[in-house]
Symmetry: C2
Subunit: 221 residues, 2 copies
């Protein structure tokens, strides 16, 4: 169970994020390899609410805006929203259909965008959004076109939305290479890709959440 | 009416594109400002089939794969597919909903992707696909987040699909700034953007269709 004040007396309402310790951070996709790396790093200094599709401190269906609204209503104001979730279909270009390509746009892209749209009223002044893309739109692999398309979309969304963020909110996207812990399952599909230490990936989320930058693709290679 | 052999005896079947004159090129979105620029350039040396949603040599609904298949069946083998069509919603970030963001992903992104998926069997060996994004994922404007997201997605799709293209097929995306001819209607939304001469935009399509490059974002500024 989280130690974040989600259950029990709510901690003092933060009216402005100052980048210090003890932030209240919601991580959606906390059970995945990238989510675990983010939580391991952020959890050292902050109250992390771990959210998954089927397990965690809370569960949410990112494709359902009303379910996200329910989640934010339960959690209350947060200093940062971190999204590390999102499925795409891995398959050959020639095998793709409209539906298989649209799947990634709906799950990975719209899932993370929904978190931002819903979070605009849930994140305190000066807080942040951190999304997650991946290496495949700059260093592609076979069967990766769905992921490459989704990653590019998220980078575009960060650029387009950063300049319209209200109240000093920031938005970045972390774009990690294949994590070391993911190699046993996925390494065979990434010939020649250098695995990235999970600790390095975790620190990218610290850079986005605790730092002051916005409108960035934070590449971890 | 086009002079492309669409109606009347079909010209000799091209079995391999060699980048020369007299290519058979299908331009979807031919009525738009960008489509007209592409057709003006390509039409000087090639047989251009102008396709629109409601008018042109042919009409097509890019969001409907079966309608695209019907179009390709009618046209027969082509040397190049050029996509200059695709709608997005221009609105403030705070006003966007899941539906308004998804609209651009379905219309602009999936529309152009559908043309590629359907065209994999319709383009001759060595032929090409040329998609169209725009400036807003690198030089954003207010109300442009939907376009920025779609543009990034198309760049990602080109990267992901270029390495899996069969039979020497190529794919690029042209990313033009605001066209000079579009300034009267849209210029007020693009403060400080330098309008781009339509002739320069047209030449980018010649570079993609007649050149040998693939996996490129061809920026026109």
């Amino acid at each position: 169970m989280c130690q974040c004040g989600l259950i029990g007396p709510a901690r003092q309402r933060r009216v402005k994020n100052t980048g210090g310790q003890g932030m209240k951070i919601i991580v959606v996709g906390a059970n995945g390899d990238i989510g675990q790396a983010a939580c391991a790093e952020l959890g050292q200094r902050h109250d992390v609410i771990r959210v998954g599709r089927t397990s965690g401190d809370l569960t949410v269906d990112m494709s359902d805006r009303s379910d996200i609204d329910r989640m934010f209503a339960k959690v209350g104001p947060v200093d940062a929203v971190v999204a590390t979730a999102g499925d795409v279909k891995f398959m050959a270009l020639a095998e793709h259909t409209s539906d298989s390509m649209l799947f990634g746009l709906q799950q990975k892209v719209m899932g993370q965008i929904n978190l931002v749209l819903a979070g605009l009223d849930a994140v305190v002044d000066g807080g942040s959004f951190t999304l997650t893309s991946g290496v495949l739109d700059r260093d592609p692999i076979r069967f990766g076109v769905g992921a490459a398309t989704a990653n590019g979309a998220l980078a575009g969304f960060v650029t387009g939305s950063a300049i319209e963020m209200p109240r000093g909110l920031r938005i970045n996207v972390v774009s990690p290479g294949l994590l070391d812990v993911s190699v046993p399952r996925y390494g065979q599909w990434f010939p020649g890709h250098n695995p990235v230490a999970s600790e390095r990936v975790g620190r990218a989320y610290a850079k986005s959440v605790e730092g002051a930058a916005t409108w960035q693709v934070i590449i971890v290679e």
